[in-house]
């Protein structure tokens, strides 16, 4: 990016249009299927392929005493299994560990694209991908709740708080209903989407800002361009932190929602 500044100089400040990726197959551009063949979709497929290959290669010949690669693969699953699934849901959380670990890997690798050179955009900065994951988690935890308590039982379980004066219920029940059954998937999706969207924006601002400063004309401004680019590097590291955190938070909240569905009490 820094090596070819003239390339991008035309557009500063960046607008939301930078997220408007065109179809890689030009003939599909104006059909509704164009979105299935954009750079973002390609990155999603690549992320899936990378995760699958990583696990299949590292776990091809597992041994009792793990090799380094095997240990790496095991610790990815082990962290989600022990530190998220079992810690939050309890001993029976192990059966959700595969789903949660898959969520974690998928979100983490798709997020990671935002700082990988030449990709430099996370598919999760398009709302559709987080929505898919959030809605899947939503289905799972609603399904778990209904299976455990029955339809009405689960409705009561998730909306009626015990130990509350009766006259508070008319206010509290609609709030609980809204927050527990409607807003959870939305906040889950929007949290991930907004973080990745904003992260991309921030990186663009500092890199393109540097380019704009370099091209601005007055010689005095040129050193400031380097400051801007240096900060872009700092923000890239920050982005690495944020993207890992978001993958973790998404998985953690999914586990928390599962736990709330299968819990006996609040």
């Amino acid at each position: 990016m820094i090596t070819q500044p003239g390339f991008l100089a035309s557009e500063f400040p960046p607008g939301v249009d930078v997220f408007d990726y065109k179809s890689l197959i030009p003939s599909l551009e104006d059909s509704m299927w164009g979105g299935a063949f954009t750079k973002l979709s390609l990155l999603v497929w690549m992320a899936v392929a990378i995760v699958i290959i990583f696990f299949l290669v590292t776990y091809r010949n597992p041994t009792l005493v793990p090799t380094k690669k095997q240990w790496l693969a095991e610790s990815v699953y082990g962290v989600v299994r022990n530190n998220i699934a079992t810690d939050i849901i309890g001993p029976q959380g192990v059966r959700f560990a595969p789903y949660l670990a898959t969520i974690f890997c998928f979100v983490f690798v798709t997020n990671l694209w935002s700082i990988v050179p030449f990709a430099q955009i996370s598919p999760n900065s398009h709302l559709a991908f987080p929505v898919v994951l959030a809605v899947l988690t939503w289905f799972v935890y609603i399904g778990l709740g209904i299976k455990k308590h029955g339809v009405l039982g689960y409705l009561k379980h998730s909306t009626v708080q015990p130990g509350v004066p009766w006259w508070v219920h008319p206010i509290l029940v609609p709030i609980e209903f809204l927050s527990n059954l409607i807003l959870r998937p939305i906040t889950l999706a929007v949290r991930l989407f907004a973080n990745m969207f904003a992260g991309h924006m921030i990186l663009l601002v500092f890199t393109l800002g540097g380019v704009a400063l370099w091209n601005a004309g007055p010689l005095l401004l040129k050193p400031a361009a380097f400051g801007s680019w240096a900060f872009a590097i700092v923000m890239t590291l920050f982005e690495l932190f944020i993207l890992s955190l978001q993958a973790y938070v998404f998985t953690l909240l999914s586990a928390t929602y599962f736990q709330s569905s299968i819990a006996d009490e609040h």
Binding site: L8, V16, V18, D20, V48, Y59, A73, P98, T102
Partner: protein, 183 residues
């Protein structure tokens, strides 16, 4: 970002980009991609990891059990050796006692035999002595009578010889002498 350079070229071609839009095509891509990932990992990877974790737990627990077994075995062996050692000790003591008894017996035996032998030798000596003495006495008796008579004859005269024979004076004197000697 590469798209950014295209954007000014064809801005009017598209409707305004909706940041919060959820295009169906992307939803489908997301669903299929995530589904594939979930299927492969859940089917081929995570169960194998679970079984590996389980095997590891079993290996560790099995190792503990094995160690415990080995310890018990060692303890059993030790007590067995101790028992054997004690047995060997009593056996040795028994053998020693037996040997002592044997030695005692042999000694007594030898002693007895020696005593018997010495007794036998002593008795034989005594017998021989008695025999010799008897024969000496017999000889003496004959000679002494004759000697005494001849001696007395020489002193008193030859006539005494006949009278002495008649009266058995010599025999009587010898008997007296004998009884005095025996005393």
């Amino acid at each position: 970002m590469y798209i950014a350079q295209e954007a000014p070229g064809a801005p009017a071609e598209h409707a305004e980009y909706n940041v919060l839009g959820v295009p169906l095509a992307e939803v489908i891509v997301g669903l299929i991609a995530f589904g594939v990932l979930l299927f492969v990992l859940t089917k081929f990877v995570f169960p194998r990891m679970e079984s590996m974790f389980q095997q590891r737990v079993e290996a560790i627990e099995g190792g503990l059990v094995k160690a415990e077994k080995a310890q018990a075995e060692a303890a059993a062996l030790l007590s067995q050796y101790k028992a054997q050692l004690a047995e060997a000790r009593t056996e040795a003591a028994r053998i020693r006692d037996e040997a002592r008894a044997d030695a005692e017996g042999i000694r007594a035996d030898v002693l007895g035999k020696a005593r018997e032998e010495s007794d036998r030798i002593i008795a034989a000596g005594r017998e021989q002595l008695a025999g010799e003495r008897a024969s000496i006495v017999r000889e003496l008796r004959g000679e002494m009578g004759a000697l005494a008579v001849s001696l007395a004859g020489k002193i008193v005269g030859e006539s005494l010889e006949d009278e002495a024979r008649r009266r058995g004076t010599v025999e009587r004197a010898l008997a007296d002498l004998e009884s005095a000697g025996a005393r």
